[in-house]
Amino acid sequence: MDLNDPAAVRPQVALFVTCTVDSVAPKVGTATVRLLEAAGVEVVVPAAQTCCGQPAANSGAPEAAAVLARHFVEVFEPYETIVSPSGSCVAMVRHWYPRLLSGSWRTRAEAVAERTHELTAYLVDVAGRADLGAVIDGGPLTVHDSCHGLRVLGLGHAARELLGAAGAKIVEMDDPEACCGFGGTFALKHTAVSTAMADAKLRDSAATGAACMVGGDAGCLVHLEGRQRRCGIGPAVRHIAEVLAEALP
């Protein structure tokens, strides 16, 4: 569908904002809405949405995760397309839901999973709108590839394409694919290792001289920024949705 064709009906996208964005980074949510609207889609936010259930799945409680998975499926089933500003939560839906659920629930989950997209992947690969008209004219940026988006969903290219189309100068850090050490409950149970990993990421990003480190998962970013507030290393840490939305005309 050509999203630029004014005669076409605007496609509708259901936003899964995620519990992390909802609770600690709501501006990432509003930025996501702005980007989707700039891409020419109508955004709806199903009111009954909560959390994808990943914390329970990764903590060894698959039954609890399955309760949230079934809730997600029920809430988002009516929508043609589901978009979320989190590679990790989308990986939960796409990779784990079909493995967590069985019987008819699995069939339903598989159908929903196919229609659920991470924000940057949706914009670039589904909507074909890498160029949203945003203009980034600040200092150079460096991109942190959050793990689940990168390795489970195969992202990585999408964020760079969006930033590149907005004219941003990207300076890559030593290994943008290295884990930042968040890992959900890992950050709580393995504080020392998790923090050492964050420090390495902050040092690598600082070494690029970038003004800003851009990521696609609020969990990683909260962990990095929270650490940065203690150690003072590294550039500003921002979600890609915010960086792009602020640069929209």
Binding site: S23, V24, V33, G60, A61, S194, A196
Partner: protein, 506 residues
């Protein structure tokens, strides 16, 4: 003591941190090579399928490899447990009157704690691999399955070797290697017992395959009068010719080499007219809880070729090193294997020692979904005792161990590498778990699957985390979070409020 408790000391160890930098360098080279090789996925798929071919009929393949080994003159001992295997080797050493045993590098002998068992009956045991030799002198265990002494700096090795040399050795690679070569050569030439593991054993020819870079495998299999090879049953490859597909992946992922300096193949003991090789060859086929995994999601681990690439790729391993795992096998593969191969007695915390970044899954040359298995183990380890996962698909083998003789015979089929695994009935499993397991998460799920209650908990969270700066410096009950990081206050208003306000304005 858990990995979390051992980690701070490892992180503070400057020598270790310096040494571990090499691990990450190697990982990046291996990763770049895999990405630049155009047919990597095809090769991985082919090697993975070959590894999994044995899983469709593991007992059948154990029988086939046994008869092939016996046909070429080896004495085969089937051992159900690590302790059986160690006792078997001890009995051989005793019967042969062995005094000096030299080893080629072997993780299987680490697994059965063979050195201690042999030393207890007065056999001198010398590790023939340089890295293994270093950790042996240090009184440690290998910290890496491929590069056992990766945690040591050159200076530390000089400090370990100098007392043996009787003078101060320079902190130079060549000098230290020369000392070890001289020292080990004498041992190799005088040894009466050669001990090896096996990288692979071919079921059609009964050939034991050893991959080394220093020739310790060649020495241990040619000089001593008696050879004992400890071969875990997951080392079976159907045909010797299959090595063509598997060996390059092993060496590329282990050491970024197209092929290692030495490839040693032993097919039976010395035959009439041959000038070297052992007069007697014993092969100890070790189960060690491996057969228990067949038919479960964890059978994927039996495809592992012990290349160590997942250790190098793991950001946790790269920060704490192998000793922090306190297990024979460290890193991601070790975190999966340790609880399984110990029958649930060791390493129960290890599956949690991962950020689940998935670098292990990505780098694995035979397509084992390591990160998924770690997630799965976290659930199965809630129940105390041995890990008893739900079985999927095929019928498991009999429970009596490999001594029980021929298992059910079925035609071997090929299985492609699995892309993850089903988690049968996780949504129904709540009723099968005792009510108190994961009670907290069960309550959480009941609350957060109800939008009103979900919003109520966020409102409560806002109260608890409310700070003028928008960040909590300290928050009791936040686990370890605020020990090293600020925690963001829950936003007021949250996204939901922002959205409904906007909708009202329209």
């Amino acid at each position: 003591m858990t990995l979390a408790a051992r980690a701070p000391a490892a992180l503070a160890d400057e020598h270790l941190q310096q040494a571990l930098g090499r691990i990450t360098d190697r990982y990046r080279l291996v990763r770049a090579r895999a990405r630049e090789t155009p047919d990597t996925d095809d090769r991985k798929h082919r090697a993975g399928a070959l590894r999994r071919e044995i899983l469709a009929d593991l007992d059948g393949w154990i029988d086939r490899v046994t008869s092939s080994l016996e046909r070429v003159g080896a004495v085969v001992h089937r051992c159900a447990t690590a302790a059986d295997a160690a006792e078997t080797v001890v009995a051989i050493a005793r019967a042969e009157g062995s005094r000096l045993a030299v080893k080629s590098k072997s993780m299987a002998t680490e697994e059965i704690h063979l050195n201690a068992a042999l030393e207890a009956i007065g056999v001198e045991v010398i590790e023939g691999d340089l890295g293994e030799y270093i950790v042996q002198i240090a009184g440690e265990r290998p910290s890496h399955i491929i590069t056992p002494a990766i945690h040591k700096t050159l200076g530390q090795v000089a400090d370990l070797f100098s007392p043996l040399a009787g003078h101060t050795l320079p902190v130079e690679r060549e000098a230290l290697c020369a000392f070890a070569r001289d020292h080990l050569r004498t041992k190799f030439l005088n040894a009466d017992l050669g001990i090896t593991g096996a990288n692979f054993v071919a079921a059609d020819t009964g050939t034991i395959v050893l991959v080394t870079n220093e020739g310790n495998g060649r020495m241990a299999t040619t000089v001593p009068r008696v050879q004992v090879s400890v071969v875990p049953i997951d080392k079976i490859v159907p045909r010797l010719a299959d090595l063509g597909a598997i060996l390059p992946l092993l060496t590329e992922h282990a050491t970024n080499q197209s092929i290692t300096a030495y490839l040693s193949m032993t097919t039976g003991p010395r035959r009439a007219g041959e000038i070297d090789g052992p007069e007697v060859l014993h092969v100890v086929l070790l189960d060690g809880h491996r057969r228990d995994l067949v038919g479960t999601p964890y059978e994927e681990m039996l495809a592992c070729i012990r290349c160590g690439a997942c250790l190098n790729a793991c950001p946790v391993y790269a920060k704490v090193g192998g000793h922090a795992y306190d297990s024979v096998y460290p890193g991601p593969m070790g975190s999966v294997l340790t609880p399984l191969l110990s029958g649930g007695t060791e390493g129960r915390d290890l599956p949690f020692a991962s950020s689940l970044c998935g670098a292990c899954t990505e780098i694995c040359p035979v397509g084992i979904p390591l990160a998924d298995l770690l997630v799965r183990l976290r659930a199965d380890l809630r129940t105390p005792g041995p890990v008893v996962p739900a079985r999927v698909g095929r019928t498991p083998p009999g429970r009596a161990g490999p001594q029980a003789g021929p298992g059910p015979v079925s035609s071997p089929g090929t299985r492609p590498p699995a892309a993850g695994f089903p988690w049968p009935g996780a949504d129904a499993a709540l009723s099968r778990q005792p009510w108190y397991r994961s009670l907290g998460w069960s309550i959480w799920a009941r609350v957060w699957s109800r939008p009103r209650l979900y919003r109520a908990t966020l409102a409560l969270g806002r109260l608890v985390t409310r700070r003028r700066s928008g960040w909590c410096r300290r928050l009791p009950g936040s686990g370890g979070w605020t020990a090293t990081r600020d925690l963001p206050s829950l936003a007021q208003p949250g996204f939901r409020r922002l959205w409904t306000d906007r909708e009202h304005r329209r």
